[in-house]
């Protein structure tokens, strides 16, 4: 299968890439790892007139800790993040999610930014970013803006990105107190998209109570969901098994799974309940060790 013809541009600076997008708007599409876009081109679900390959732009794949946050460039690849000691230290939920995305071959090319921009409701990164309270940096020829992950996803394959914008960086605030996080994913076989995925991030205060709980849900709604009711119930509470069980029930009640080949809505809801509870317990273990 061949992709439809397009005009290929491989700019070597971000400014140049943004200028091309500003000129072509809806006619242009960015190419990052290509692991979602190239299959879509081959199936003729997408047929952009201009393809802007971001792969030649230096400096967009960095991982660094600065100013109380972990900054990850949009072009950082899944495998790179799975192997990063800095990500493991600062964001255990991301570290747990990365090696569960797709398969090793796809992880060698697929990028964090491409995954978020693609906004597949079964994509894993979105839930992690929601749980961790990440801010996404969007750039256009006209300037930059920052959008919280909780407001970035708008629906199935739909985000806050304008056609003239690129996602350049993700900023994850570093916790101030003891903290932990994880990502639990149920898949039919290794390499499959999630039947259900749950990202959890937990921060404790000086007294050992929950300062902040973040919970993101994968594949149980039209987009990656924030389990807002569960998060609110946990804030300020003691991190007890009862509180975690209640959070699981609230998250399960608030999600919108659909029955499909991967399981019934009822089953998925049940898995959300169990995984939120387990994920919180795991995050607490990590926090108490940190």
């Amino acid at each position: 299968m061949y992709p439809p013809p397009f005009d290929y541009q491989a700019p070597d600076s971000l400014e140049e890439a943004l200028a091309i997008l500003a000129e072509h708007g809806y006619e242009a599409k960015a190419l990052a790892g290509g692991q979602s876009l190239i299959p879509l081109l081959k199936l003729r679900f997408a047929a952009p007139a201009v393809l802007v390959d971001l792969g030649r732009i230096p400096g967009l794949d960095g991982v660094e800790a600065a100013d109380g946050e972990l900054r990850i460039g949009a072009l950082a690849r899944h495998n790179q993040l799975a192997a990063s000691p800095l990500v493991a230290e600062r964001c255990p939920a991301a570290s747990a999610a990365a090696p569960q995305i797709a398969d090793p071959l796809v992880r060698n090319l697929g990028t964090l930014g491409g995954s978020l921009a693609h906004a597949d409701p079964a994509g894993d990164w979105g839930s992690v970013m929601i749980a961790c309270g990440a801010q996404l940096v969007l750039a256009s020829a006209g300037g930059r803006r920052t959008v919280p992950a909780t407001e970035f996803f708008r629906g199935v394959f739909d985000t806050a990105l304008e056609p003239t914008e690129l996602l350049t960086e993700v900023r994850i605030p570093s916790p101030r107190g003891p903290a932990g996080g994880t990502y639990l994913k149920l898949e039919r076989k290794v390499g499959d998209f999630a039947t259900v995925g749950v990202a959890v991030s937990l921060e404790l205060d000086g007294a050992g109570r929950i300062a902040r709980a973040g919970i993101g849900l994968t594949a149980v709604g039209p987009q990656n969901l924030r389990a807002a009711a569960a998060e609110e119930a946990l804030a300020g509470a003691e991190p007890t098994a009862e509180a975690f069980a209640e959070a699981g029930r609230l998250a399960a009640g608030g999600c919108e799974p659909a029955s499909d080949v991967r399981g019934s809505a009822e089953y998925k809801r049940h898995v959300v309940e169990v995984y939120v509870r387990r994920g919180l317990a795991r995050a607490l273990e990590i926090a108490r060790r940190s």
Partner: protein
């Protein structure tokens, strides 16, 4: 568009359409048909090649994206007319039946052994988890990868 890709150590310069996939560049332009097309939808790993040493699916990369980079295909495993230890090990351990998945499996094994000279069974299974085999049941593929690793370690001690 003119691109230069170093394939199995040789710089290959060709004028290609931007929409040409790397797998077709290898098979149809260069005549290297050892790289197979299985699913053509990024699901099976039959088209695996090494891009700057890392295994990727060549049906899901444009040839123009490989411009200026190095690609290794199964044809690049053979050295001075001698089978590579990985090829020997697949033969010895019956690591293949129809052979359709084999080029991809062997290239994944090459990348794995380079980064981890003594992979456990679990590590081999994890590494090949993007490559589907419809014949063998994987057991002998795993054995072959570990035998190859042992052989390569021995050869290094000897030299």
């Amino acid at each position: 568009m003119e691109i230069t890709v170093t394939v199995n150590g040789t710089a290959e310069t060709r004028d290609v359409e931007p929409r040409l996939l790397l797998v077709h560049f290898l098979r149809d332009v260069l005549g290297l048909t050892g790289t197979h097309v299985g699913c053509d939808t990024t699901g099976c790993g039959a088209c695996t090649v090494l891009l700057d040493g890392a295994p990727i699916k060549s049906c899901t990369l444009l040839a123009v994206q490989a411009d200026g980079r190095a690609v290794t295909t199964v044809e690049g495993l053979i050295e001075n007319g001698q089978l590579h230890p990985i090829q020997e090990a697949f033969k010895e351990e019956h690591g293949l039946q129809c052979g359709f998945c084999t080029p991809g499996m062997m290239l994944v094994a090459k990348a794995l052994i380079e980064s981890n000279p003594d992979p456990s069974e679990e590590e081999v299974r994890w590494a090949i988890s993007g490559n589907v085999c419809r014949c063998t049941g994987y057991t002998n593929i795993v054995k072959a990868c570990r035998r190859a690793a042992a052989q390569i370690r021995q050869a290094e001690v000897a030299s």
